[in-house]
């Protein structure tokens, strides 16, 4: 429907939308009064996935299912979305802050000749225009931005926006539009999977544990992973730890790593350098454990323990085990 708020589906590449979709759909519904549609480009959709999008509030799913859409390539996806947008005139096009959607939505905005608000942490209607809020300058400042014209293109930071409640029985109309799928010039060679830790993905995790220089060495991260398994947390690291070669770069939290915004952040032996804070200061609850009572991270922590992490972490793991009955 013209004037709808679109949410581009981020999925697990196996046919299921990721839970961040509940957040983008929920926010789009709040802003538009429920005029929300999902746009799903995939090589493999599923009935369960389509049902889930409906239950999260999508009134319609524009489904483009084609083998040529995998793996994601911006040069293929962006023209499909903009062709559809040209026909359907959405008021807004939202994505999530993931590696592919950050690129995709930038391309979509360029093709449509409209503004892009990347990594929004708040969105608000101001009369008939949308205002986006985004952290800038290492998260020290907040910038409010407005678009010259619609569609308003934005990516939303995970874990910040209130997710839609899943309502059983709500269904989305599934429409399979006829669109041109351009030929790719980028030839897919291979995908190299990382060894799975069995823990949640850093960027989307609701609880994140971070180990800094105070971890003293790569061999000690195992105690954080044990805690991670008990509370269902991702385990990341500070730049100091990554630069020391203790953890691969994909685990880095901060300005030159991942920006995270979990419900709970637990930092162990993390001093709280500005570039680390840039990547985690929008976390809802911050816990810091550090031997140094002067560590800057205590200035933004909700709870702090001044002490030896090698005593605190095992004790925390035991205490959470009791609490969670594991």
């Amino acid at each position: 429907m013209a004037g709808a708020f679109w949410c581009v589906v981020e999925d697990d590449r196996q046919g299921a939308p990721k839970k961040v979709m509940a957040e983008t759909l929920g926010e789009a519904a709040r802003l538009s009064g429920g005029n929300v549609e999902a746009v799903w480009l995939t090589d493999k959709a599923s009935e369960v996935g389509l049902k889930q999008l409906g239950e999260w509030g999508a009134t319609k799913v524009w489904l483009v299912e084609n083998a040529a859409l995998a793996p994601y390539r911006g040069e293929v996806w962006a023209p499909v979305i903009t062709e559809l947008a040209g026909k359907e005139s959405p008021k807004a096009i939202f994505g999530a802050v993931t590696s592919r959607q950050r690129e995709l939505l930038a391309r979509v905005a360029a093709r449509l000749g409209v503004g892009l608000c990347a990594d929004a942490v708040a969105l608000e209607m101001d009369g008939d225009r949308l205002i986006g809020t985004r952290p800038v300058y290492a998260g020290k400042l907040l910038s409010k931005v407005a678009w010259a014209k619609s569609p308003w293109v934005a990516t939303l930071r995970p874990n910040v926006f209130r997710p839609a409640e899943s309502e059983a029985g709500k269904t989305a109309q599934v429409e399979k539009p006829s669109v041109t799928i351009p030929a790719a010039t980028m030839k897919f060679v291979e995908r190299r999977e990382e060894a799975s830790t069995g823990l949640p993905e850093l960027a989307e995790a609701e609880t994140v544990i971070s180990g800094g220089r105070g971890m003293k060495g790569p061999e000690n991260y195992v105690i954080l992973e044990e805690l991670g398994h008990v509370i269902g947390a991702a385990v990341g690291a500070s730049r100091a730890a990554v630069d020391a070669g203790w953890r691969p770069h994909r685990f880095q939290i901060g300005q030159t790593g991942r920006t995270i915004s979990p419900k709970l952040y637990l930092g162990f032996g993390v001093s709280g350098a500005i570039q680390h804070l840039a990547g985690m200061r929008t976390s809802k609850v911050i816990v810091a454990v550090n031997k140094d009572p002067e560590a800057p991270i205590f200035k933004i922590a909700d709870y702090g323990i001044v002490g030896d992490l090698f005593e605190v972490v095992p004790a925390l793991t035991q205490e959470f085990k009791k609490l969670l009955d594991k």
Partner: protein
């Protein structure tokens, strides 16, 4: 092989940043400026490609005010052969798309075989210019690059991009745009010889009119800029380890409802 590297001058992470009187921009007095770290990865990669191939030219480009020349001089000191400064007040309020269009105009004039950019600038963290360059130029583009190799005849680049859960490797026909992720390389420091030599290298100013661009209005504008509201003061959970941990877990469950 000619390689163009688009860079941005940004405040150093550790520098104090304050909102200016207009409530839309920052106070620039007293700021330490640097080349955005991701752009250094891009430049380093360009220099390595040139060195490996034993020939070529690396051109650093930026769009920004007069002070951005310092960032270009740093690039020349690191080893770039020459620099182009898109320096025109018409671009003062440029958003990512306006920036991408201006850089694309430079690229069309220069016709490099490869464009390297950082995955995002660490001032406004939009992370869009590289992707939008790909779109405006109609070139293949790979984001968050962790490694790359160009084939011997300079026709294709194999690039590994970081995605959730792994790396995806693609062959891109050249010309192409690559956006550098941390981990691609370790940027070199300029040598004294490099710094001295940089003064003799070409650093050219370019105006909007030279690029055939008028003052197209930006599509995204800043309404206001404000300091981050301070977090409510936290508390240090005191006591011996056993006591503190028990109290912390209780607080996280009952007060903060975070677990």
């Amino acid at each position: 092989m000619k390689i163009l590297v688009a860079i941005k001058q940004v405040p150093d992470t550790a520098t104090l940043v304050k909102v200016a009187g207009d409530a839309k921009s920052i106070e620039t007095a007293g700021i330490t400026w640097i080349v955005s770290p991701y752009d250094e990865f891009a430049l380093e990669e360009a220099l390595r490609i040139k060195e490996k191939r034993g020939q070529g030219e690396v051109v650093a480009v930026t769009l920004g005010p007069e002070r951005a020349k310092e960032a270009l001089r740093s690039c020349l000191a690191m080893g770039a052969d020459r620099a182009i400064h898109v320096n025109d007040p018409a671009f003062n309020d440029a958003d990512t798309l306006t920036t991408a269009r201006a850089l694309a105009a430079v690229i069309k004039q220069e016709q490099p075989a490869l464009v390297l950019v950082g995955r995002q600038a660490i001032d406004d963290d939009m992370g869009a210019v590289g992707a939008q360059l790909g779109e405006v130029l109609g070139w293949p583009c790979a984001y968050w690059i962790m490694e790359e190799t160009i084939d011997a005849d300079g026709k294709t680049v194999k690039a590994a991009r970081q995605v959730e859960g792994g790396l995806e490797v693609f062959d891109l026909p050249l010309p192409a745009v690559l956006a550098a992720q941390k981990g691609l390389n370790e940027p070199r420091y300029p040598t004294l010889k490099g710094i001295m030599g940089a003064k003799k290298k070409e650093l050219k100013d370019v105006k909007a009119a030279d690029l055939g661009l008028g003052g197209e209005p930006s599509q995204l504008s800043i309404v206001s800029l404000q300091a981050l509201p301070p977090r409510a003061p936290g508390r240090i959970v005191a006591g011996d380890v056993a006591t503190a941990v028990k109290e912390l877990v209780r607080s996280l469950r009952e007060d903060a409802k975070a677990i």
